[in-house]
């Protein structure tokens, strides 16, 4: 067995409740530098409220983002964070989670980040059903790069990269999330922050992969999908008498609703074993806490296989 030279004593992740926090406790070292009015402020606030509601302490949470205005979020909250690469929040988050599944790992980012360059990771993460929460600040534009079309920009929308109008059908994140195997798929809106916080808390509580698409207006570059535009259209599915997110086809129809009416809330849910459940090594607890190296007996056995 290997000799670990500089063994380090680590506190185990404290999963018991230390204290209930206030929003102030969750303030990051710097203030957000988003444009005044940016939808991402509501997302940040909702995430803090959800962490409080779920009794998650700052050191128990790790927030991974990609690159974009929205992906600056981890810098604005008091928690562990990785501000990773454009489009790669989910694989980084997956690595963290598999190394230490006692951490609450939350991935955040923009629509370009998650539905553009990172789309494949989203779909594979969904079918993998790791216990991750993925919050997408969908402003239907590339904010940080100053206003090009995003994969959710609506047909014919004029942007810096499509001055004559977008020619591609936008991504339908809700429907995509459902068919990819996400077990919790929701939509929220920055103009309805309390509802957003509630959905975040549910998403975090959900065991398995949750995708939360947040309509988070970019007040600087998207002059179409504005707060009033959404306010006029959004309603909550919870308010519909018979809505059952566990019914796949019902959810699918809801997923396609976009126009005069835009549904908010948990559109789809399912129960499926998580990836962690199926990984035998994790039965012994997080691998970061497991012994390193191979014992002599095991080694001899492994070597014998080659002879």
């Amino acid at each position: 067995m290997a000799v670990v030279e500089e063994k380090t004593v680590r506190d185990p992740i404290v999963s018991t409740i230390i204290d209930v926090q206030t929003l102030k406790d969750l303030e990051g070292p710097v203030d957000p530098d988003w444009c005044p009015g940016c939808g991402d402020f509501a997302v940040l606030k909702s995430l803090k409220e959800a962490l409080i509601e779920r009794h998650i302490q700052p050191h128990q949470a790790l927030i991974v983002s990609g690159i974009g205005c929205s992906s600056n979020l981890p810098g604005f909250i008091n928690a562990y964070g990785i501000h990773s690469l454009h489009g790669r929040a989910l694989p980084v988050a997956t690595g963290v989670k598999l190394a230490n599944h006692h951490l609450h790992v939350i991935a955040v980012g923009g629509d370009g980040d998650g539905y553009g360059i990172g789309l494949s990771h989203l779909i594979h993460a969904a079918r993998r059903n790791l216990d991750l929460t993925y919050i997408v600040m969908n402003n239907e534009i590339y904010g940080l790069t100053t206003g090009q079309a995003s994969p959710t920009s609506m047909l014919d929308m004029r942007t810096k990269s499509t001055p004559f109008g977008c020619a591609e059908m936008p991504i339908n994140p809700i429907a995509l999330g459902i068919v990819s195997g996400a077990t919790f798929v929701a939509r929220t809106f920055s103009g309805d922050q309390k509802h957003m916080a509630k959905i975040f808390a549910q998403g975090i509580a959900h065991r398995g992969f949750s995708l939360i698409d947040c309509m988070s207006p970019c007040v600087t570059f998207n002059k179409v999908n504005t707060y009033p535009w959404f306010k006029e259209r959004c309603y909550r599915v919870e308010d519909e008498a018979n809505y059952n997110p566990y019914e796949l086809m019902m959810a699918m129809e809801k997923a396609y609703e976009w126009g005069a009416r835009i549904p908010l809330g948990v559109i789809f849910r399912a129960e499926r074993p998580t990836y962690e459940d199926s990984e035998p090594v994790l039965k012994q607890g997080p691998v970061v806490d497991q012994p390193m190296g191979i014992t002599r007996e095991m080694f001899d056995q492994l070597l014998a296989e080659t002879m």
Binding site: E6, G75, N78, G81, H83, G95, V96, M307
Partner: protein, 671 residues
């Protein structure tokens, strides 16, 4: 135990057939017989990028002493199809034997060099009473015969078979042993052994691939997370981990692509689990952006690039050392990192463990350059060459959050600007020390400096902090040493998998009266500039030996030291260097001869075979080779006569350019 002046015995067996013939399994069983007898084996399998059919050529070199290459010779060939006889019979050395299934195949005596014997095995006759047999049983018959021919103990083969077919039950074992025995008896009745009296009383030797060594070394070195996307020739590491992960406590994840792989291991490394991945050049290209991230957020992670023939998809099942430029240039900007090139099977094992150490101690990405030859060849080791007792050095880590307040009392400064450049780590999950690891540049606490104000001062100092780690790292690494006589006429410089062939070439050169020595570089980045320059300054003549076209390492050496070697001995045809491929160029260099790039007769034959296969329905084979003048094509030519395989009648001449290798024309006879 070797007596003085006893020249160690050795023999090389070639197995040739199509993919799907079960030839590798057969070959490795054979190798295991030798390794269980304590004999050393070096095996190299030359195979193609297809699943069934095509051509596979597995060489097993067995020796009383430790050997490091597949060698230059072949003494026995087991041919599993007609094509294999045609291609390999001519290479058998005098005194050797060609074995094949006499029921299905025949050997044109014209193909056989003098002094080589045929041993066609009458498969049906010999195995008639042994029940319904799979086609792969012809291999077993041949292996049985081989036991006699090369003087190995049949009982050991019985043991290997029992282990190999163990799961399939006693009946299968019995059947296999019976078939092998039939072969053994037949050979004994019809042929003298070509070698016998192996001296060995050593214990069983481990016999494994470089990929297995990487995996085991990493596991011993504390790897807790392995991610991969399948890619030859790196997949062996994935397969080993997938099989053993649950037993040894390693989480193994096959991902959607290499982007995910690289980013996942960085996430895991950041969270505190030692993490590794492996791929080949194409997949490595997709990992490069993430490697730069690891450099920036100072996350430990290990990336193995098992090189294969490039560029692009290239020759996916062939070996090359062509990705040094790529690995050196991975990702944009300057960032600290290490690049290690293990040279031997043993080094594969220890370098994986060491890479994990360096990654954690210096908090940076470590890249390992292997290649198909090193990763996929199999070789015996001494039983105690590998040990699980490898040191695990985790580097500077804090157990708990520093007390609040700057001056040891502030928010946790993950990226503290220390004199060594190493900032103490603290793992996520620790109460009270929350920080963000950002790929945007940042201050000591991890706060971005790219957003509010041009901060040239902090930017300069953090870039210097990161890069200072390279000095500390270099100081930790053992400098290379010159092996062999100090007064050598020529110094051969190598990196990675060429160690073995250079080593053996130097031995042979010594026998030919040429004194050569050997400088092998294991650490490509950071580079022991001072030490290497000092060594090379004193060398008479220098040549780099490497498997690529442009001499990437020779260029790297010049870039790092300013030292230009006298010559670069390159090979870029996909097959590894045999010792002769080093020896002949060394002689040429010493004699002042230039390298001749013209198509050789052997190569003209290859080109003609290809032509026959693609354009003549494989019905013809090259039979005569003539050199001809330019004749309108602007370069001297080969006229290769192709004859009908069955009738032997000449069909026409293939005109091949000697310089370009272009296949200019096919002149049908009588046209």
């Amino acid at each position: 135990m070797e007596t003085v002046n006893h020249k160690p015995k050795e023999i090389t067996i070639g197995l040739a057939g199509a993919a799907g013939d079960g030839l590798d399994r057969t070959g490795y069983n054979l190798a295991n017989v030798a390794s269980r007898l304590g004999l050393h084996v070096y095996a190299y399998n030359s195979y193609q990028s297809l699943i069934r059919g095509g051509h596979t050529w597995l060489r097993l070199r067995i020796s009383e002493r430790k050997i490091h290459t597949q060698g230059d010779h072949v003494n026995v060939v087991i041919a599993l199809n007609q094509d294999s006889i045609e291609r390999h019979a001519r290479a058998i050395e005098p005194g050797g034997v060609l074995l094949f299934n006499g029921d299905r195949l025949r050997c044109d005596p014209a193909l056989l060099p003098e002094g080589v014997r045929l041993l066609p095995l009458p498969f049906n006759e010999l195995t008639g009473g042994l029940g319904k047999l799979l086609p792969v049983m012809q291999n077993t018959l041949a292996v049985g015969a081989l036991m006699h021919l090369v003087g190995l103990d049949f009982e050991v083969l019985r043991g290997v078979m029992a282990d190999t077919f163990g799961r399939k039950g006693g009946e299968i074992i019995a059947q296999n042993v019976a078939v092998a025995q039939a072969g053994f008896h037949y050979a004994r009745a019809h042929s003298e052994p070509i070698i016998a009296g192996w001296r060995s009383s050593r214990p069983r030797l481990p016999f494994l691939t470089g990929n297995t060594a990487f995996a085991m070394g990493a596991a011993a070195g504390g790897c807790k997370f392995y991610a991969a996307y399948p890619m030859s020739p790196a997949s062996g590491i994935l397969h080993w981990f997938a099989e053993h992960g649950p037993k040894i406590g390693v989480v193994v994840k096959q991902c959607e692509d290499e982007l995910a792989v690289a980013n996942m291991i960085i996430g895991a490394g950041h969270a505190g689990a030692r993490a590794m991945c492996a791929t080949s050049g194409g997949g490595f290209a997709l990992m490069t952006e993430a490697i730069g991230m690891a450099g920036m957020i100072e996350a430990p992670a290990v990336f193995i690039n098992v090189q294969r023939g490039g560029p692009s998809t290239g020759i996916p099942t062939k070996t090359e050392q062509g990705d040094l430029n790529q690995v050196f240039g991975a990702s944009q900007g300057d960032y600290p990192r290490a690049i290690i090139a293990p040279a031997t099977l043993k080094e594969c094992y220890y370098s994986a463990a060491e890479a994990l150490n360096l990654a954690e101690q210096f908090q940076l990405p470590v890249m390992i350059l292997s290649d198909l030859l090193l990763s996929e060849h199999r070789e015996t080791l001494e039983p105690d060459d590998l040990t699980p007792e490898v040191p695990i050095r985790r580097g500077e880590r804090l157990r708990e959050a520093p007390a609040p307040g700057l001056n040891g009392k502030g928010p946790f400064r993950r990226y503290a600007f220390t004199p060594s450049g190493i900032s103490p780590r603290l793992l996520p999950g620790t109460p009270g020390a929350m920080y963000v690891a950002p790929t945007d540049d940042h201050d000591e606490q991890g706060i971005l400096i790219s957003d509010e104000h041009t901060n040239t001062a902090l930017r300069r100092k953090i870039q210097e902090k990161r890069m200072r780690k390279m000095e500390a790292l270099l100081a930790e690494l053992p400098p290379p040493v010159l092996e062999g006589p100090a007064d050598a006429e020529i110094t051969l410089i190598g990196w990675g998998s060429t160690w073995g062939v250079i080593h053996e070439a130097i031995e042979q050169l010594a026998e030919q009266g040429i004194r050569a020595n050997h400088l092998h570089i294991n650490y490509l980045v950071p580079f022991h500039k001072r030490e290497v320059t000092e060594i090379l300054r004193h060398c008479q003549r220098t040549a780099v030996v490497e498997s690529n076209y442009t001499g990437q390492f020779a260029r790297h050496l010049r870039a790092e030291t300013g030292f230009s070697v006298d010559a670069v001995i390159t090979k870029y045809d996909g097959e590894p260097f045999d010792p002769k491929h080093v020896i002949e160029p060394v002689r040429a260099i010493l004699e002042g001869r230039l390298r001749d790039l013209r198509v050789t007769e052997e190569e003209a034959r290859e080109i003609a075979y290809h032509y026959s296969r693609i354009y003549l329905g494989d019905k013809a084979r090259p039979v005569r080779f003539e050199r001809a003048p330019a004749d309108g094509y602007g370069e001297p030519l080969w006229h290769v006569q192709l004859a009908d395989r069955k009738s032997g009648l000449p069909l026409g001449d293939l005109i091949i350019g000697q310089e370009t290798g272009s296949t200019y024309a096919w002149q049908v006879h009588g046209e």
